[in-house]
C-alpha cells in the first residue's frame, strides 16, 4: 500500500527511535560551529574495493562532515555520465549491496562519529530483502539512505523497516517539487533534506547562486530538518556558497571525475588516486569552513 499523502505525520514520528542519530548529532555540532556541512560522495568499489576503501577511510580527516556512498546499479536513471561510469567500474570490480555494507562495517572500526549515507536504487534493495537490508545496514553503521527511485508514494515497502532499524530516509526535493507536493515529500523525510539544485541529472550543469539562495527558504518554510544542496556543486566556491545558503553541500561528480582521470587505460588506479581525491575534499572543506 502506498503512503497516504493526506495522512498527517508529525515530523518527529519519522525520526527513527532507538539509538542516537549520528546525523542529528553532526548537524547540531555544525550549527554550534556556525557553518554548513561538506558531504563528499564516493561510489562503492570504484575503481576497486581497496581504492574506494582508502578514499572512504581518508575522508573524515580530509574534512568530510558526512559521507555519501553510492551503491552501483546497472540502470541509474538519475545519474549523468560521470557517475554512470563510476557505477559500471564498481560493478565490474564486483560491487554488490552486501559489499557496500561491508565497506561501512570496516569504516566503523575506525570512525564511530561521521555519518554515512547510502545512495542507490530500489531494485538491489528489494532483491536483498527490504527488511533484512534495513537491519543489516543499521548494524553495519549506516545512518541514512537515499533511494532515488522510491518517492514517498512508493515508500511503504521500505520505510517501516528503515524506521524500525533506526535508519533515516533522506529525500530529494527538486526545483519541480511544487508547493502542493513539498509537505508530502518533507513529511516522509528524516535526517536531512537533499535539495537537487537543477532539473537534470547528476554532474551535468550547475544552478545559479541566486536560484539556490531563493530555493532554500521555500523549503525551510515547511521543515525543521537541515537542508543540503547537491547536483552541480563542483568547485570550492560553489560548495562554499551552497553551505552558506543551506546547511551543507554534497559534492559527487567532481570528485569522481578526479578519480576517473587518475585511472589508466584499463581503469586501474594510480598509486596516488585516493590521495588526489582526498586533496580535493580538503580544498572543498577549507572553502566550506571559511564560509560562514
Amino acid at each position: 500500500m502506498p503512503a497516504d499523502p493526506a495522512a498527517p505525520q508529525a515530523r518527529s514520528a519519522n525520526r527513527p527511535a532507538g539509538r542516537p542519530s549520528r546525523i542529528a548529532a553532526r548537524f547540531a555540532a555544525l550549527r554550534a560551529e556556525g557553518r554548513g556541512a561538506l558531504i563528499p560522495f564516493l561510489e562503492a568499489y570504484d575503481p576497486d574495493l581497496a581504492t574506494s576503501m582508502e578514499i572512504l577511510r581518508g575522508m573524515p580527516a580530509a574534512g568530510a562532515d558526512l559521507i555519501e556512498i553510492g551503491v552501483p546499479f546497472t540502470d541509474p536513471m538519475a545519474d549523468g555520465p560521470i557517475i554512470q561510469a563510476a557505477g559500471q567500474r564498481g560493478l565490474k570490480a564486483g560491487a554488490t549491496l552486501a559489499g557496500a555494507l561491508a565497506m561501512v562495517r570496516a569504516f566503523r572500526e575506525g570512525d564511530d562519529a561521521t555519518p554515512v549515507i547510502l545512495m542507490g536504487y530500489l531494485n538491489p534493495i528489494l532483491s536483498y530483502g527490504a527488511e533484512r537490508f534495513a537491519a543489516d545496514a543499521a548494524a553495519a553503521g549506516v545512518d541514512g539512505i537515499i533511494v532515488v527511485d522510491m518517492p514517498p508514494e512508493e515508500a511503504e515497502v521500505l520505510a517501516p523497516h528503515a524506521k524500525e532499524a533506526g535508519l533515516d530516509i533522506i529525500r530529494l526535493v527538486a526545483p519541480t517539487t511544487d508547493a502542493a507536493r513539498l509537505p508530502l515529500v518533507l513529511n516522509a523525510s528524516s535526517g536531512f533534506v537533499y535539495y537537487v539544485a537543477i532539473t537534470g541529472i547528476t554532474g551535468t550543469k550547475s544552478a545559479a547562486p541566486e536560484e539556490l539562495a531563493a530555493a532554500i527558504p521555500r523549503i525551510r518554510a515547511h521543515t525543521d530538518l537541515p537542508i543540503c544542496i547537491g547536483f552541480g556543486v563542483r568547485t570550492p566556491e560553489q560548495a562554499a556558497h551552497a553551505a552558506r545558503v543551506s546547511d551543507g553541500a554534497v559534492v559527487a561528480s567532481a570528485l569522481i571525475d578526479t578519480l576517473a582521470k587518475s585511472l589508466d587505460a584499463e581503469g586501474r588506479p594510480a598509486p596516488d588516486s585516493a590521495r588526489r581525491v582526498l586533496d580535493q575534499v580538503r580544498a572543498l572543506a577549507q572553502a566550506v569552513r571559511a564560509a560562514r
Binding site: M1, P2, F73, T74, D75, P76, M77, A78, D79, G80, P81, Q84, Q88, L91, T96, L97, A98, Y121, L122, N123, P124, I125, L126, S127, Y128, V148, D149, M150, P151, E153, E154, E156, V157, R171, L172, V173, A174, P175, T176, T177, D178, R181, V185, V196, I198, T199, G200, I201, T204
Partner: protein, 415 residues
C-alpha cells in the same frame, strides 16, 4: 506489496489510483520526474473524457493509419496444420493484420494518441526510446505530421543492427541519439530518454512505446492499443457470429498483446497466450528475454514488474533474435495477469520463430516481423491440438521488412 492476490470481479478495472495492478506497476521515479508524470496522468484523464480528443484520434486511425486493420482467415496455415493434426483437430487460425498499418506495426496507434495528448499539454518537443526502431519510426512519423521536433534515443548496438530504421527516422526529420551508456540497448535508451526528460521538463513530452514505465503510461498505452481487440471483437462476430476461443500475441514490453487481450479479459471463454522470446532457451542464464517465465519481480523504469535480473538485483541483458523483444522487463499489467493466471505466458525460441517466419511467407504471402513470428510459432504448436471448430486469433503486429537483413544473414544469404 505483499497483499495476497485475490481474484477480482473484473480484470478490466485496473490500475488503481496509485497506478497499481495488484502489486505491480506504480510510480518508481526520482522526485524530479514525479511532478511530470502526475501532470501527464492529469492531462490524460481529462483527454479521455473529451469526445473531441477521441474523435480526432479516430479520424487519424481511419484516414492516416488505415484502420480498421483486416481480420484475415489464414486458410493455408490452417490447412497446413490440419494436415498434421489428428482427425477433427486443427483450429481455425485468423491473423489480426496490424502489420498493414501505416509505418508497418501497431506502434502508431498509441503514438498518435500520445502526440495528440502532448499537443493538448502544450508541449513543444517529443522524445522517444526505441529498440528495433519501430516505435521510433512511428513517433518520427507522427512528429512529421504534427510539425514537432523529435529526438529518438536508441542503443548504439541497436543503431548498428537496425540501420534501415535509423535512416527512416532521419528521413522523417527526427534526430537519432545513439546511446552508449550501460549495455547500449533498449533499456539504456529508456534510461537516457528519462534522463533527458528530467533535464527538459518544461517543454518536452516523453512518448513511451510500450505498456511499461511509470503510471499512467502502462494504462494509457494499453487504452490506445485496445483498438486492436475492440476491432477483433466486432470483426469476429461478423465473420463467425461469436467470440474467438483463443488469442495469441508476442510479448516484449507487451503493448500489442495488451491491446488484443484487454477487451476480452472478462470473457471467461477466451483463452489467451502471451508468447515471450525464448531466445536460445529459457534454461540459459542470459540467452532469452522471457521476463515472466524466466525472471522475477523487481523495480525498473518506474514500475514494479517481472525482470531479468541477477541474484543481486542488477538488471540482465535479454537476448532475442528479435530486437523488439529483448527488453529485460514486461508491462506490469502482464505481470498481474500472469500471477492471476488469467493469461498463459509461454515462450518460443529464436529457432522456432525463424521457422514460423519462413512458413508464413510461403503459405500466406505475408512476411511477418520477427516479433509476431514468435506468436505464430506458438500457434503452430497449439492449433493442431485443438478441435477444428476452435477459433484462434493471432496478432500480426508488424511486418517483416525491417527483419529481412537479419533473417537473410541467419539463413546464410548474401547481398
Amino acid at each position: 506489496m505483499n497483499t495476497p492476490l485475490t481474484r477480482p470481479n473484473t480484470y478490466r478495472s485496473g490500475p488503481d489510483a496509485a497506478g497499481k495492478f495488484g502489486g505491480f506497476g506504480g510510480r518508481y521515479v526520482a522526485e524530479t520526474l514525479m511532478p511530470l508524470i502526475l501532470e501527464v496522468e492529469k492531462a490524460y484523464a481529462a483527454a479521455k473524457k473529451d469526445p473531441a480528443f477521441d474523435a480526432e484520434w479516430r479520424r487519424l486511425l481511419t484516414h492516416y493509419v488505415g484502420r480498421p486493420s483486416p481480420l484475415w482467415f489464414a486458410e493455408r496455415v490452417t490447412g497446413h496444420l490440419r494436415a498434421q493434426a489428428a482427425p477433427g483437430l486443427g483450429a481455425k487460425v485468423y491473423f489480426k493484420r496490424d502489420e498493414l498499418n501505416h509505418t508497418g506495426a501497431h506502434k502508431i496507434n498509441a503514438v498518435l494518441g500520445q502526440i495528440l495528448l502532448a499537443k493538448r499539454m502544450g508541449k513543444k518537443r517529443i522524445i522517444a526510446e526505441t529498440g528495433a526502431g519501430q516505435h521510433g519510426v512511428a513517433t518520427a512519423t507522427a512528429c512529421a505530421l504534427f510539425d514537432l521536433p523529435c529526438t529518438v534515443f536508441m542503443g548504439a548496438v541497436d543503431v548498428a543492427r537496425q540501420q534501415p530504421n535509423v535512416f527512416r527516422m532521419k528521413l522523417l526529420g527526427a534526430e537519432v541519439v545513439a546511446v552508449e551508456s550501460g549495455a547500449a540497448t533498449l533499456k539504456d535508451a529508456m534510461n537516457e530518454a528519462l534522463r533527458h526528460w528530467v533535464a527538459h521538463v518544461e517543454d518536452t513530452y516523453y512518448c513511451i512505446g510500450t505498456v511499461a514505465g511509470p503510471h499512467p503510461y502502462p494504462a494509457m498505452v494499453r487504452d490506445f492499443q485496445s483498438v486492436i481487440g475492440e476491432e477483433v471483437r466486432a470483426q469476429m462476430m461478423e465473420a463467425e457470429g461469436r467470440l474467438p476461443d483463443v488469442l495469441v500475441a508476442a510479448i516484449g514490453g507487451g503493448s500489442n498483446a495488451m491491446g488484443l487481450f484487454h477487451p476480452f479479459l472478462d470473457d471467461a471463454g477466451v483463452r489467451m497466450f502471451g508468447v515471450e522470446a525464448g531466445g536460445h532457451g529459457i534454461e540459459t542464464v542470459t540467452g532469452h528475454a522471457a521476463s515472466l517465465t524466466g525472471g522475477r519481480p523487481g523495480v525498473l523504469h518506474g514500475n514494479r514488474t517481472y525482470l531479468l535480473q541477477d541474484e543481486n538485483g542488477q538488471i540482465l541483458e535479454g537476448h532475442s533474435i528479435s530486437a523488439g523483444l529483448d527488453y529485460p522487463g514486461v508491462g506490469p499489467e502482464h505481470a498481474w495477469l500472469h500471477e492471476l493466471g488469467r493469461v498463459e505466458y509461454v515462450n518460443a525460441t529464436d529457432e522456432e520463430a525463424l521457422s514460423a517466419f519462413q512458413l508464413c511467407a510461403r503459405l500466406e504471402g505475408i512476411i511477418p516481423a520477427l516479433e509476431p513470428a514468435h506468436a505464430l510459432a506458438h500457434v503452430l504448436k497449439l492449433a493442431p491440438t485443438l478441435p477444428a471448430e476452435t477459433l484462434i486469433v493471432m496478432n500480426m503486429c508488424g511486418r517483416g521488412d525491417k527483419d529481412i537483413f537479419t533473417v537473410a544473414k541467419l539463413l546464410g544469404e548474401k547481398f
